[in-house]
Homo-oligomer: 330 residues x 2
């Protein structure tokens, strides 16, 4: 399996990207990685890491998109940037997957420009995995499609369910529609229409109905559907409040500690790891004819290795074939 890694994407790129790729080689014997970016810099990093094999190659690109740049504008200005080249390689079947920790908006925009959609898919969606009181849940879409129609949300239910089934081995994933109340008829037109669609679809037995924001972290469904605007706000609000609570709790508790200080610090660190959901494999852009794994901007080498593993797993589980089968049958 050949994977294009956007070597320049991410807050700390390219170092963790190169090291993450090297570390993945032993763990994932079937992959080869194409590092896309600044050739001299990448070759120097490979040689500094004493890498001399042939499973990692370097593919030159011109420039890269910074985290703060406007995606569409930046892509127009830098048509040969690392991200654009990654997608072109996938469109040209030179690679099977793209992995990037770069500007998420730009990863999606570059992908949508290639029109590399799976057969039957109307709009791709980003699926993130969130921790819940019952384990974890998949939330789709978190930003690829900020103005969705009900048929898009229905397709997110199909794709999210297949993803949860394939990757998390949940037999019959419970699907929930994010809404502002649990009763029928809640929300606005888009959500009422989607609720109707799901209730009368093949997914009706898996559909648990409307789920409020509170139910998300309570684990009321395995797969949660919403439009990109809402999902993105939910995701970033969650990160914001987690940050806020961790700071507040640590400020409130630490001064109260004396003898147990070290033990509590250890417990806190362990907990922090559990919440690094972004670091645990990245988020797939579902609905693409190929594989695209989006990592958090702050990805470490470990996070990059995990994302490469996620791409491999996605392929092994035939996620795309299953999506096509479900949508084309519909």
């Amino acid at each position: 399996m050949r994977i294009a890694l956007d070597a320049m994407g991410g807050d700390h790129a390219p170092e963790p990207n190169v090291h993450g790729a090297i570390a993945a080689l032993d763990l994932l014997p079937e992959i080869s990685v194409c590092l896309v970016g600044d050739r001299p810099r990448l070759e120097t990093l490979l040689s500094e890491a004493a890498y001399s094999g042939d499973r990692i190659t370097v593919h030159a690109a011109e420039g890269f998109i910074e985290m703060h740049e406007k995606p569409v504008e930046a892509l127009r200005k830098k048509p040969k940037c690392s991200l654009a080249v990654c997608w072109q390689m996938m469109a040209g079947k030179e690679v099977d997957a793209v992995v990037s920790a770069g500007n998420t908006g730009a990863v999606v925009a570059a992908g949508l420009r290639t029109r590399l959609f799976l057969k039957g898919v109307k709009r791709p969606g980003i699926a993130v995995t969130l921790p819940t009181l019952k384990g974890k849940s998949v939330l789709i879409d978190v930003g690829a499609n900020p103005q969705a129609r009900s048929e898009h949300l229905y397709q997110y239910a199909v794709m999210g369910s297949i993803y949860a089934k394939s990757i998390f081995k949940i037999d019959s994933p419970r699907i929930g529609l994010i809404n502002i109340g649990s009763e029928d008829g809640k929300g606005n037109e888009l959500y009422r229409e989607t609720h109707q669609l799901l209730t009368s679809s093949d997914l009706k037995d898996q559909y648990v109905g409307n789920v409020e924001g509170r139910g998300l972290y309570a684990g009321e469904a395995d797969v949660l559907i919403c439009e990109g605007f809402v999902g993105n706000v939910v995701l970033k609000t969650s990160e914001g409040i987690a940050d806020f609570l961790m700071k507040s709790i640590s400020e409130a508790i630490m001064p109260a500690l004396d003898a147990d200080r070290d033990k509590v610090m250890e417990a806190f660190k362990g907990l922090g790891k559990r919440f690094q959901y972004h670091g645990t494999g990245g988020a797939p852009l579902l609905g693409i004819d190929g594989i695209c794994i989006i990592c958090h901007g702050s990805s470490s080498a470990d996070a990059i290795t995990n994302a490469l593993r996620a791409a491999t797993n996605y392929e092994h589980q035939h996620v795309n074939e299953r999506i096509t089968a479900a949508l084309v049958r519909d």
Copy 2:
């Protein structure tokens, strides 16, 4: 000042409602409270509490709306329920304010039926106050208007700003628009239009632009604007993740504790109080010709007292007069 208190609204009603009203009398010498609900039950509670004054009266209503009922349907079935009677009293100028800890959807639906809107207001919005790393911020709307137009969002900015200025004494509140990126042009049509409106309005000097979910709890703005669907999901997701994190942290930390156990428990309790934002005065429905304070369903007697105080404060600060002056001038 005369306040109608929905004595039957809330998970634990009517006890905390009656006790909260009695406790408010000493603190707020200018108010009288009309307890609306089941007359015999309320009179028994008053006499059990040895209350014998004339500042609390009882007004009979027939039934009440349960927390799980569908608002519009329930109001049709129970036209004389405690909540409907409260609003009818305000529409008839028998009272100056309504306070309820009942089904939020029903509080709003009953209010919208009276069409008791302030002059110039197109749609009322619920404003909640959230704790942030910098203090607190007002988020409007969290559910009164799930399918808003840009002119509604613009009015929320006007009303939210006046509220923050009057109640929190913030000289020139920074206004932010909830969005999925901070750059211009982000989001969907509604948010792009609203961004344009705010940028070219009288509020432009206060407007700090788009704010992402993460910026909300970082305190990037004093007033945050969004449509009711998004605000409701943000609010309930916040409650959900706070709950989830508190449980996870306490599970991770408590077993690590030995000598400091009691001190940490105390610190946790103190922190919990800081997060009871629902308990600290309730959320006003802004844009109503009158005063409506919505409390959390789990309101204690203290929370009810605080909500009565909030209604008083709202009147003292002439919030409505200021809103009308701003919107009618526009």
